[in-house]
Each structure stands twice: as C-alpha cells, then as structure tokens.
C-alpha cells in the first residue's frame, strides 16, 4: 500500500533488459560527453536521445514528479542568477554583441547571453533524464552482480545494493517519525527560526537513526545465519551475462563521446560552438 516515488520498478523494456553495468557505462560516457561540450547541436541530440530512452523505459510522470519539481525550480533559479551575476558572459565567450533590449543602465539582454544560457539549460536537461533512467530501471542486485563481475569486491557490491534496496524503507520511516513528532508540536515548516529548526530536526534524526540501527542489526543477523561471507567469492542469482544489446549500447555511447571530442577539437576548435561569426 506504500507509494514509492523513487525506487526501482520492474518492467520489461529494452532499457530494463540492459545489464546494470552497461547502463552505468553508458551513463558515464554520455554525461562525460555533455560535460565536455557547449555545442548546442550535440547537446540537443543527446537530450532527444535521453528523452526517447525515458519513453522506451516507460517511466511515468507520477514516478518522478516530486523530483522534477525540485529540478525545475533549481533550473529556473539558476537561469536567472546566471544572468544577474554575469549578464555579459555570452558576449565575452562569443566575441560579438547583438543587443535585443536593455533594462536601462548597463543591464542588457543580448542574443549571445541567451544562447549561452539556453545551451547551459539544455546541458542540465539532457543529463537529468539519464540519471533518472539509471536509478529507475536498474535492478540493484543485478547491478551489484555486474559490478562484482568487473572485479569490485562483493561486500562493497552487496552494501551498495542493500542501500539502494532499503532506501525507500528508511524514507518511509522518516515520514512516519516526522509526522509523529509534528503531532507533538515539532514545527518543521519555515515558520521557525533556523537554529530552532536545526535543533528540532534532531528530534526526527535521533529516532530515525535508532530505528535504522535496529534494521541493520536485524538484517546483518539474518545474513550471517544464511552464510553471508562464507567464501571469498559468491555467485549471483540475478546475474545477467552481457548480450548483444549491451555491447551495442556501450558502443553507441562511446561513439557519441568520440564524436563530441572530434567536433570540439577538429571543427569548433573550442568547447563552444559559435553561430555568431
């Protein structure tokens, strides 16, 4: 009956079928590509790709609504603050100045600035879906098994997968505790002063830590009793061998990264793409 807004959901789509490892590799390759360029053509290309992947993965708006709201708020604030602090940055980068209109005084809005800021906005917008896809479509245990497959210690892998696994439970605990404390009068809204709020958040954190410790003790006993750590190696039920689709996806992502570098080094001769000259 619990609603879990942000956790792995089990579906059978192309993206879900990919191994966790290849998804991680693709995620890293594509985000590096985005980080290494300010070329809006490439960024838009990756953005379309990542939104298409979200479609393919059948991620529903309701799953990510809360997160999207935060992200959008961040982006809007970021957009305006970038302008307020550096209204001439675009002019500096592109070396020309096409004034659209001015607010009087020295604050002008230029085509260059808008172009720079939109490029930046799209950079964020293309990375975020990739992260969402990774978290929502990766089976934690399968991911752990593929990490283990490339040589990471299995204890680290299980720790990681258990964290992903129990995160929603701890989030549920947090909600229950917060409500119970609010009922006793602990005001968590912005009405209280900062120092007060810090003090009061302790009244949620301490019970949360206590209940989480209880959880950890229980699960570590349960794992001990079922022979966890018996051998230096272990096998994985959820292991998926890499398939053709995995290799293709990784190759495509790698190609995107190489292409990005090629455009940057050999065509633009700069991290920026300049349409103004």
């Amino acid at each position: 009956m619990k609603i879990r807004t942000f956790s792995y959901s089990q579906l059978d789509t192309f993206v879900h079928r990919l191994s966790g490892l290849s998804k991680l590799v693709c995620f890293l390759l594509l985000t590096s590509a985005i980080m290494l360029t300010y070329d809006i053509r490439i960024i838009l290309g990756i953005m379309i790709l990542s939104f298409a992947m979200m479609r393919v993965a059948k991620i529903r708006y309701s799953q990510i609504r809360l997160m999207l709201i935060y992200v959008m708020a961040f982006l809007v604030v970021n957009f305006f603050l970038t302008y307020v602090f550096e209204p001439e940055y675009g002019v500096q980068i592109y070396g020309t100045k096409h004034v659209l209109f001015s607010f009087g005084g020295s604050y002008t809005v230029t085509q260059e600035q808008l172009f720079y800021q939109f490029t930046k906005l799209f950079k964020y917008l293309s990375v975020i879906p990739l992260g969402i896809i990774f978290v929502l479509t990766t089976n934690p245990s399968e991911f752990a098994s593929s990490l283990n497959g490339v040589g990471v210690s299995y204890k680290i892998c299980t720790a990681l997968s258990l964290t992903l696994r129990y995160f929603p439970d701890v989030a549920d605990d947090y909600n229950t505790i917060a409500l119970a404390q609010q009922a006793r009068g602990v005001e968590m809204s912005s009405k209280a002063k900062m120092t007060e709020r810090l003090k009061r958040s302790a009244s949620i954190l301490i019970p949360l830590i206590m209940t989480t410790m209880d959880r950890i003790e229980l699960i570590s006993n349960a794992m001990d009793l079922r022979g966890y750590g018996k051998h230096r190696k272990r096998t994985w039920y959820a292991r998926k061998p890499l398939k053709k689709a995995d290799y293709i996806s990784m190759a495509v992502s790698l190609a995107v990264l190489v292409f990005t570098l090629y455009v940057r080094l050999c065509i633009n001769h700069s991290i920026y793409y300049n349409p103004f000259i």
């Binding site: 009956m1 089990q10 696994r165 349960a222 009793l225 966890y228 096998t235 039920y237």
Partner: protein
Amino acid sequence: MNDEMIVFKDFGFQYFEQSEPTLHHINLTIRKGEKILIAGPSGSGKSTLGNCINGLIPFAHKGKITGSLTVAGIETKNSSLFELSSKVGTVLQDSDGQFIGLNVAEDIAFALENDCIEQKEMIERVRKTAEMVGMDTHLAKDPHRCSGGQKQRVSLAGVMVDDVDILLFDEPLANLDPKTGKTAIELIDEIAASGKTIVIIEHRLEDVLHRHVDRIVLVNDGRIIMDDTPDNVLAANILTSYGIREPLYLKAARYAGCEITADMKPASIETIDTEKLRSPLKYWFEENKGRYDAKERKEMLEVKNISFSYDGVKPTLDGINLTIHEGEMLSIVGKNGAGKTTLSSILCGFIKPDEGSVLMYGEDLSKYSISERAEYIGIVMQNPNQMISKTMIFDEIALGLRIRNVDEKEIEKKVDEVLKICGLYEFRSWPISALSFGQKKRVTIASILVLNPKILILDEPTAGQDYYHYSEIMEFLKRLNEQGQTIILITHDMHLMLEYTERAVVLSDAKLLADEKSYQVLCDPDLTQRANLRETSLFELAEKTGFSDPEAFVECFIHYDRRMRADENQNVLLQSA
C-alpha cells in the same frame, strides 16, 4: 545413538557484557524428527537458547560457554557460524526486516549464492523449494509486497533451500494476524512431516498447540523448569505463574472448578475430552451469567463517511462511519492492509480524507494543523524507538510542552503528574536507555498524555510482548481508561480485544465490516474468516460442551475473567501498599 540432533550437557552461557549468566546448567536432548516448543516469558533465556543452537552464540554474540552443546554431532563452540548455518535453518521473527533479495526468488537463493552454487543449479533449487512452500507462482514478486503469510513462506524457503536438518523458528507468530498465524502453524506441521527436526520458540502456547507438538520445554530464569508432553505440561497448571498465557478453554474450565488431568488430553481444544467439564461449566454459567451492566456514554467523536485512496484507483477506506463515546476503550481490528493505520492517520490529521469529515463534539477538526490537532487526538506509535528523541525521561515527556512555550514551572507540575499516572515517577531522572521495552512504551504514552488529548490512539501497544508485559501495559491502559481517558487500540491481538475492550470495530478491504461487542466478533465464524481473525477457543468449548447459546457463555466468561483480574490486581496493590 545417532538420532540425537541437539544435545545440551550441563550447558551454561554468559554474555560478556552481563554480570550474570543467562543460561544455567541446561540439560536437553532433541532427537531427529522431533517437534519441540520452547516456551518462556521474555528474558527467560529462551531466545538465547535458540541462538546457541543456530550459532549466533558464541560467534555473533560473544560470551562465555560452560558445559557442552552438540548440534548434529558437532560441538558448537569448536565450529563456526557457517558450518552451523548449513545444519540449522533459522526463521527469525519479523520477516519484513530481513529480506535481502529484491524478489522472492532472489531472496530464497541468498544462501546458495553465498555457497557459490552455479546460477543454473540455483534456479532449479529455488524453484523446487518455492514449490514446497507454495510460493512458486510468486517468484518475481517483491517480498515486501507479499501478504504476511507469504512473507513467512519466503523466509522459510530461504532457509530450507540449504537442505538443513534442523529448522528453528524464533517467535513465528509475533507479527501475524490470527488466521495467518494458524496457517503458519499448519505449514510448519507439514514440513515436520518430511522428517526435519523442528524447534519453535514462542510464548503463544495456545496458537502453537493448534497442531501436535512432541514436547514443551518450559524455560524461566535461564533454567529448564519442565520438559514434558503438552498434555502433562498443561495439566501441571504452572504456566500462568511463569508468565505464559494458559489456553482460554482451560482457564474457563479451571474457573468452573474442574481439575485438568493429562489423560483428558488438554493440549488442544480439538483433543480435549469434555465429558467431565460439561456439568461444572453449566453450573458455573448459571451462577454467573447476566451479571454485567453497560454504561450510558456521551457521543464524542464522529467519523462521517470517510473515504481515502492512496493511488486514486483502489480505495484504502471506503465510506467509513463510526462514533466514539466519552470514556470508551475500543479496538479497531482487521488484517494487515485493511486500512487500520490509514484510519488512525486520518483521525490524527496526518493525511486528509478524499471524502468525509471527522467531528469532535460536532466541531470539524479539518481546520486544525497536525500539531494543533494533537490536543484533541494523540497517537502512540508501535515502536517506542520511533518516538523517543531525548536522553532523559523528563525531557522526553516535556518536549511537547516546551515547544508550546508552556511556563517551565507549569511543565514540571504537569510532567510530574503524568509521571505518577504512568508509574514512572521514581525513574524521572533516569536515562531512557536504562528502561525496559514496556517502560519505554510508557514513556511514549506519557509524552502524548501530557498534551492532554481527548482521545488516545495506540498502534499495536503490546506487539512482541509476552503475557506478563502484555498484562502490565494493558492493566496500565485500563487504569488510565478508568480515570476517564478515551482510548482507541489498533490491534490484531484477539486476546487484547476480548479481554480489555468492550467494543470492536472490524475493518476489511477498505470497508467497515462490523461494529459490535468484542466477544460477538470472535463468535461469528463468517466474520472472523473475512477479517483474518480466528474464533476464540471458548466458543468451541461452549459448542463442544453443548451450550445452546455459546455466545452467552463467552460473554459470561469475559466478564467473570475481568472481575477476577480486577480482584487480583486489587490484591497486588494492597500487598504492595
């Protein structure tokens, strides 16, 4: 003798962090294929005994061992946790918190993964084991989304997959509703038939004895008090003095002055010979029936046509109407997921209903914020650790008042008053960490009570408690209720509902199924079936002994029992004064 599976010889154990041994001079032999119940109150050492068998002692919990314990021929102190875990499979209580896998199959496979079994063989063995416990059609399901009974099947499969010789169940009934608990006991019995040695640690004797058990080992203060067949143990009439609840049908028989002997086969309501009980019970009933009075009470809280759904599709509550009266103590019962917790969240204003309203003396409560509403309706969570945030008892209870900027002198007065009501006054300057579970529970009750709510809601107040602590908490709530506090209990403990609450509200699949006297609920086979409850054994006893109106018999027992317990408590109070 090769069929000795578990042999304790003059065995003793002391945790390093404790000054006294927890187990003394244990001598106990369990043979292959036997089914043993280890019973005892909390703190008796019964769980420690179990942990010695599965190897958590001495390998995870360190301490000093004296004497000898062999499991399947292996001297445990010279073995390892891993070696023992391949002989003994342990099903811990609270299966919810110990699922490791993301789906049922993976969780069952965990032990095999650790044993480096190849994936192909693993899939085959998981399928076979799942079939044995009837979970083979749910392999892809998230274990957390399974029903209570399914969860336990998954835990069971998780230890059986290793093909262990001994299965150890640590309080298997603790978190199950009565009907699921009954099925669990039946399932354990089926597995026992396959030749495995079974050890059940549990204090809910009547429920375990629903199926045959070879022996009961009664433990108290780290010593074995009795080790005998269920019939002999029950006939010995010593359970209550060791803090274990006696089966209700036997309690009724004793009230009627019958002597219980082993040859009557008292182990279960199904086996007991009722011939000798017939006339004493009839006589007792005629003497005591009809001696109860119901109080007229004023209406207080009105729940009007409440509906709620988490996802907008499937209703969690559907058109609930309910009236609560001043000074009442009632229980809200129903299986997991029936909407009990949602209803209490709505009463406290944690969530807003999609439809309907909650009125207190005709005033709509929806205009108040969560913290304002706490002055009308207060809630005590199931696990005290979910609420306690201070180190000192006084500060914890004062928290709500301090936040409301009450004058410090006033706070002191109010907290002291509540401390006295809750029997915590002498501990007022103690750190909370030094308290027992029941005392912690009382601290959380006190911390809500100090805000003076008109209605107090408690979520499973006695979950995981043995009979002694159960009685302690419930008697305290009863006294509170007698002082005029209105109390709502959310529970699936049938004893609690029968013994302490006059009225029961039954929720099932989002609907209010019944709102009537508690004993009536437990005498209605159709209703108990639908709400995952069980009929009380009193009802069966009345039927077996030929009462024309079994319900009247149960009602008579409940009121008689309440009077007896009230007298008993009176005596205890007089003695301590």
